[in-house]
Symmetry: C2
Subunit: 327 residues, 2 copies
Amino acid sequence: MPTSRPRTILASAAAIALAAGAASADIAEYMDFFEPLPALPPIPADNSLTPEKIELGKMLFFEPRISASGVISCATCHNPALGWADRIPRATGHDGQVGERNTPTVLNSGFLEAQFWDGREPDLEGQALGPIEAEIEMNMTLEEAIARLNEFEIYREHFAAAFPDDPDPINPQNVAHAIASFERTLNTPNSPLDRFLVGDVQAMTDQQVEGMKLFVDAGCVACHNGPALTDSNFHRFELPGSTDEGRFVVTGDEADMFAFRTPTLRNVAVTYPYFNNGSVAELHEAVQLMGQQMLGQDFEEDELDALVAFMHALTGDMPKIEIPALP
Amino acid sequence: MPTSRPRTILASAAAIALAAGAASADIAEYMDFFEPLPALPPIPADNSLTPEKIELGKMLFFEPRISASGVISCATCHNPALGWADRIPRATGHDGQVGERNTPTVLNSGFLEAQFWDGREPDLEGQALGPIEAEIEMNMTLEEAIARLNEFEIYREHFAAAFPDDPDPINPQNVAHAIASFERTLNTPNSPLDRFLVGDVQAMTDQQVEGMKLFVDAGCVACHNGPALTDSNFHRFELPGSTDEGRFVVTGDEADMFAFRTPTLRNVAVTYPYFNNGSVAELHEAVQLMGQQMLGQDFEEDELDALVAFMHALTGDMPKIEIPALP
């Protein structure tokens, strides 16, 4: 009967809508575990984010003359060409000395609530001066660094503009505040996951969606959550071959032995190699090891592939930074 | 008489025009010694300049993994933030080793007809591989560098695109050709001198114009001429404290003892410190020393000031380079 056809079509449409609704509800539950990267991380009350500080911070980030050799800057290890890290196992600094730990990326680091692998500083302001003074990194006292910056008229102008209420603005605290301000702008929005979360269902492949579900179901999301996919907390992890005592070095608390801060997973595909000593080069192996150590689970090959595919969905737009002309 | 006024005005105008004409003729004679920077330097017949080579060359220029430490790239010493040089006396390379000579800027280096302080290579293709292999610079054999590049799918694609007729495109010659191609784009047009030469008479200050005249009259222009203000030739220069034998090391010819290639004066104000060992930090002192050594002339203070002012008129627009994302 001709009259039945519209009804059949309507019924089919309803069935499809119902099925789609069920699938959406299913995926929506998983999506609830994630959040798109905000445009900016939280800004501390005592370091408002201003264009003047960002500009000055950018200059300081690229400034090698606050290192003893005159050739090492923040950008040497946190290299913008290499995911704002260095893609070597352990950081190489002053006179070619090799440190104990892998360089973490600066990208999205404003979203982290603990800085350094051992969380010995709570924020970017606290982190910024460490590598300048470290003997195996830039190897310069802050006193010397301040004296060098003071030699340049252009730095005197920029510090005065960035800290207008400070009668003597070239000082370590302001160096830290300016660098931290610049770093808070180094975020990577629009990853496939971010686009997926705001409704672009084509932004992730089916395999990446499978990886996302497994990431939740297997329990990875217990530690890797929040906008930067880290809880900024410390978890014991015994990396084969590593003797690094991790968080214990900071707290002296036995419970912190071999504990490291959960790293962000944003841009994990372009911030290899992995773990505190950078000893694992491949993401596939890193995910496998995490499953074994943290979840007591040996993922199947297809599961590993899906999880790695999902990791690739966490690579966002790199900040477009023009190298500043220094004085 | 009222009727005389127009004539007086006309006469005055004519006098002014005459005076201006005379002055212009005068300045025009000086201007003949200089030429605005062309958009591009000469391109060698065997290395055509293509967008693919420029892009690949940029990646290689910023690539630290063709160094033994994994942290030193061309851009370490030829730092875009520091006038594409390093602003330290002598280059610091692998394991903090300090070389014998000051890092020359890459800016406008395509206009030079001899590369390195001693001119041991005639062109940028010849220059490009030297620092990779030098033990005190990047300290990597070309064989190893090629092997490392070959590991990356993205490099394999870029080399194939840049050298489509080459069945095995990742090789030392192509690395050199790509880097040289990128470097030929690193030019600095629109300096005050360039704008002055094309008719913008306000582009240089009166003092800079005085400096330009003195630069010609005193004879500086005998060696510092052509688009990059260098004859690309070798001249004996005994820098106090330097034992560097210069060009003699290359030729073994006694006439070349202590001879160095005339450096470009373009961007000289932002490519301090000066001379083969970078021992002179101030432009004022550098000009004074040049006057004494090369021209047997002790410039007066006001002459030095004018010459230094003219040097500042040689700073052009820096290339706008976005740091490439490396694989």
